[in-house]
């Protein structure tokens, strides 16, 4: 295992020089005892790898062959030796073909008999005995059902965030996650900041007291408008909605789940808990299709006087930016790479690797999208178990609580959202006409879920 975190290195250095006489082991024990500093393992941090270790051949099936799914599958095969994509499932045949062609260019042929379209394609894929891992990258509406089946079929899982769109789905994810744990199936989720070395090391600083006690936070994801599809002739209701899934709440969960969940997840991680309640605003000013909002502003109450302001927007020509911020009693941090003292001076900074020419850079050599797959393969091949299902379910539920607070205008507590029977999907998922109303939520009234 490679473990180049700074705490350990520094200790080893001190141990072998100043305290050489006592012996390295004793010294580091004494030192860590004195400083009471927690290392990566004690903090439950994932390993930072240069590549997944060698081991038995691993074959993955991709469920959901859109852009992110195909991207995730590419990330998977590039994360280490002897990793293969052997099957694809998607509701649309054209998506399967596009994806196959991209893999064909890499001389990785996916046999047609291992490609399954339609709404039950995932079941056929997961029934293949040769598939060890499934990559779940469909719209999040379908994730709980897919994850459940994957566990039933004994597959290791990589799944994209968000992991569900409603509390019924969230509870299913948590329960399936626990079932996976009971039988030793590894689960990694696509909240890739948790696999990003700069975030990880900043977290380690904060967890060891670099900013004192956190007292407030903010998180934001403000960007231009995102993609949408207008309806084409010949598309039935279901076809249209799934092709335009990013704009329907029952499929996407709204952008506070789809993208802002990353930032919310960071705040939950750094504060070490989920919020107790949320109050917030939101609205729809510029969206053209679907039923979602295009801006949210949420006040999360984390208890003990700690609040986090969350905002997200998808409107052109506005102030954009994404990121997180945490204020502490002794300093503050942007969570990604810098810690400041209260007077504004820099206390600590993450050192990014230099490029081939020795120039400073501001990014990691291995993208976190690949790092997360390295971790999954590492876990399977070494037995160092990983399961992020509940963690990401909790962050997704945090976003659902916020969304409901904005949609309804009410204060929503964790207790009530966790136990809610909100289930956004239609009763039956099939192609053809769909009997659903798509009223834009109005604060002060119940969300017609």
């Amino acid at each position: 295992m490679e473990n180049n975190n700074k705490g350990l290195n520094r200790r080893k250095f001190l141990g072998s020089t100043a305290l050489a006489g006592i012996g390295i082991l004793g010294a580091s024990a004494i030192l860590s005892g004195c400083k009471n500093e927690k290392d990566a393992k004690a903090l439950g941090l994932p390993p930072i790898l240069k590549g997944a270790p060698k081991g038995k051949k691993l074959r993955a099936g991709l469920v959901g062959a859109g852009n992110r799914g195909t991207g995730a599958a590419m990330n998977f095969i590039s994360s280490g030796p002897d990793l293969h994509i052997v099957a694809i499932a998607d509701v649309f045949q054209d998506k399967i073909e596009d994806c196959r062609q991209r893999f064909a260019k890499l001389k990785m042929d996916i046999p047609a008999e291992n490609c399954f379209d339609g709404f039950d394609g995932y079941k056929k894929l997961m029934a293949l005995p040769d598939v060890d891992i499934v990559i779940l990258a469909t719209p999040p509406q379908f994730r709980p059902e897919h994850f459940k089946e994957a566990v039933l079929q004994n597959k290791h899982v990589f799944m994209e965030k968000p992991v569900a769109v409603d509390p019924v789905g969230i509870r299913s994810i948590i329960a399936s996650g626990k079932k996976a744990e009971a039988i030793g199936l590894n689960v990694v989720t696509g909240t890739q900041r948790r696999h990003q070395q700069d975030y990880i090391e900043t977290y380690q600083q904060v967890a060891n007291g670099a900013i004192g006690k956190p007292v407030s936070a903010r998180a934001f994801w403000n960007q231009n408008h995102v993609w949408f599809r207008t309806r084409e002739e010949g598309w039935d209701d279901m076809t249209y909605m799934i092709r335009n899934w990013n704009n329907f709440c029952w499929l996407c969960g709204d952008h506070i789940l789809d993208t802002h969940v990353h930032n919310i997840d960071i705040i939950n991680w750094f504060l070490g808990r989920h919020p107790e309640s949320a109050i917030g605003y939101g609205g729809r000013a510029r969206r053209l299709t679907g039923d979602q909002y295009d801006f949210f502003s949420i006040d999360f109450d984390y208890g003990d006087g700690v609040f986090s302001h969350s905002m997200c927007r998808q409107i052109d020509n506005c102030a954009n930016g994404t990121g997180e911020f945490i204020m502490g009693t002794e300093g503050y941090t942007n969570c990604i790479n810098t810690i400041w003292n209260l007077d504004g001076s820099v206390k600590w900074e993450f050192k990014y690797p230099k490029d081939e020419n020795g120039n400073e850079t501001n990014k990691l050599k291995i993208p976190p999208y690949v790092q997360e797959h390295m971790h999954l393969v590492y876990a399977i091949r070494t037995g160092e178990y990983v399961n992020q299902a509940e963690m990401t379910a909790n962050s997704t539920l945090t976003a659902i609580m916020a969304r409901t607070a904005a949609y309804t205008g009410k204060k929503i507590t964790w207790e009530e959202i966790f136990k809610s029977d909100m289930d956004l999907g239609p009763k039956e998922i099939k192609f053809g006409p769909v009997d659903m109303q798509f009223e834009v939520p109005i604060p002060g009234t119940a969300h017609k879920a």
Partner: protein, 489 residues
């Protein structure tokens, strides 16, 4: 010398160990626990009769595992067993009551459950099971395995671990169906008939008047929330002679029950009253229905019942206010009970009472409470009425009032208020009258209590929990009052 000591010590240890083991065998347990029911029901249970053929023995559930206070628990139960063996008659044990959750928790250990059942999320777990176990994980201190899995060690054919879809649906054919409600033209007691059913019930005319609500400071065993006692004026009303019975409540259930979960609608459109969802298990606790009081419905469900009853009879039925309730319960008396006697005399609490007992003939004639109830509800015929002609105002089951409960008692109340309705805001509602579980001191006319929404739903494994049925309160019911039409002289 040392060696002898060591050997002796070893022998004692071994003998002690053997004794512990021997006295933990099924045969040894059954040799004293002579009631054959325990043995038979165990053999029929899933801990004896199961697919893999594994038998779980008495002490594997009824003692904690080693390292969790096993020897201490063994000594404690042993002493109780010896006492019971020599001084009690096992045929007099109320085994039904001992199998209820609160008793079962005293001699089954959760550590023993989880010693074997280590995986709460096996692959085969259903969605309902997932929700239940997630709920358990979030309230471990309040819920134990037994809350849901009560009969796994001793089979109980009546304890169904499922939604009781047939509950209350068996209609007894009856030709005597009322087509009209009773017309009330004078202020006098009458018998209400529920149209479309064969059910009727007695309503007592309670005259207007004035009384002191609460208990005086010198009333024995009173609580601070009963004071300060102050005068209140009450307008006349009709009150049901008995607590709403299963016969009455089931008509409502059959007429309005909804298969799916529905929120209680707060609108005034009475044509579309949606009633309770199917309950979990047996809400009547297997004690029987008929004229026994209906129990375990939520406060909100009781209100929907009143709304339904008003709709079908064309009158104004509702829950009593707390003041109306106490006025009716006192029936003109100012004493702790509407009959003679002191709470100090009747209470069974305190060491002397436990040893020497006390004369409770009077209270037993009027009240179903801890000492005479056999831990369950009784039919109204078992007690005498109060001065107004009302039965079971004290005891049998606690009754919902319409008021919110305030622990500050009556300190903020106006003197000589007319028909006070309690605090404007609150969390929990007043319940009155004590129940079959209560001690004599808690069935006094002035004794107050309140609903405990969280605790009474703690076992309910649904997400969200039922709005219609309490899972953890078997001694709550209600009584209706009817407003007097202003045209009646």
């Amino acid at each position: 010398m040392i060696i002898t000591g060591l050997i002796l010590g070893l022998v004692i240890t071994l003998a002690g160990n053997m004794a512990v083991n021997y006295t933990s065998t099924d045969e040894y347990c059954i040799s004293c626990h002579v009631h054959p029911v325990a043995d038979q029901s165990w053999k029929l249970s899933s801990h004896h009769d199961n697919k893999p053929g594994v038998i779980i023995h008495c002490t594997e559930c009824h003692l904690p595992p080693k390292g969790h206070g096993m020897l201490f628990a063994k000594a404690k139960h042993g002493i109780k067993d010896i006492y019971g063996f020599y001084f009690k008659d096992s045929t007099e044990y109320n085994l039904k009551a001992k199998r209820k959750l609160d008793m079962a928790k005293k001699f089954v250990y959760p550590e023993s459950c989880t010693k074997c059942h280590q995986n709460l999320f096996p692959k085969t777990l259903t969605t309902e099971g997932e929700n239940a176990h997630l709920s358990f994980l979030s309230s471990k201190t309040e819920v134990s395995c037994l809350n849901c899995h009560l009969d796994v060690g001793h089979f109980d054919p009546n304890n169904k671990h499922e939604h009781n879809l047939n509950f209350g649906n068996s209609v007894v054919p009856n030709t005597n169906i009322y087509t009209e409600p009773t017309a009330v033209t004078t202020f006098a007691s009458f018998t209400e008939k529920i149209p479309g059913t064969s059910v009727s019930f007695d309503m007592v005319a309670v005259p207007d008047g004035q009384f002191l609500i609460g208990s005086p400071k010198n009333e024995p065993l009173r609580k601070p929330d009963e004071g300060p006692a102050h005068p209140v004026k009450i307008s006349r009303f009709f009150m049901a002679k008995i607590e709403v019975s299963w016969d009455e409540y089931l008509e409502f259930f059959r007429a309005t029950s909804s298969q799916g979960r529905k929120e209680i609608e707060e609108n005034e459109n009475v044509d579309a009253i949606s009633g309770p969802t199917p309950p979990w298990g047996a809400p009547d606790q297997g004690w029987g229905k008929g004229t026994r009081p209906a129990i375990t419905m939520s406060w909100r469900a009781a209100n929907v019942y009143c709304k339904w009853l008003s709709k079908v009879t064309g009158k104004k039925y509702r829950l009593p206010t707390e003041a109306e309730w106490e006025y009716a319960a006192r029936g003109g008396t100012k004493t702790p009970y509407f009959f003679e006697g002191s709470p100090k005399k009747f209470t069974s609490e305190g060491i002397f009472k436990k040893i020497f007992g006390t004369d409770t003939t009077t209270i037993q004639a009027f009240v179903v409470y801890k000492e005479n109830s056999l831990s369950q509800t009784m039919e109204p015929g078992s007690v005498k009425s109060n001065p107004f002609g009302l039965k079971n105002m004290l005891g049998n089951v606690s009754e919902f009032c319409s008021d919110y409960y305030s622990p500050k008692g009556y300190s903020g109340n106006k003197k000589m208020a007319v028909d006070p309705k309690g605090p404007k805001k609150g969390q929990e509602h007043v319940i009155r009258g004590g129940s079959f579980k209560s001690d004599a001191k808690d069935v006094r006319s002035a004794a107050r209590d309140f609903t405990k929404s969280r605790a009474w739903l703690i076992t309910d494994p649904q997400m969200p929990k039922s709005v219609w049925w309490y899972s953890d309160c078997s001694d709550i019911g209600f009584r209706v009052v009817c407003e007097v039409d202003e045209n009646i002289k």
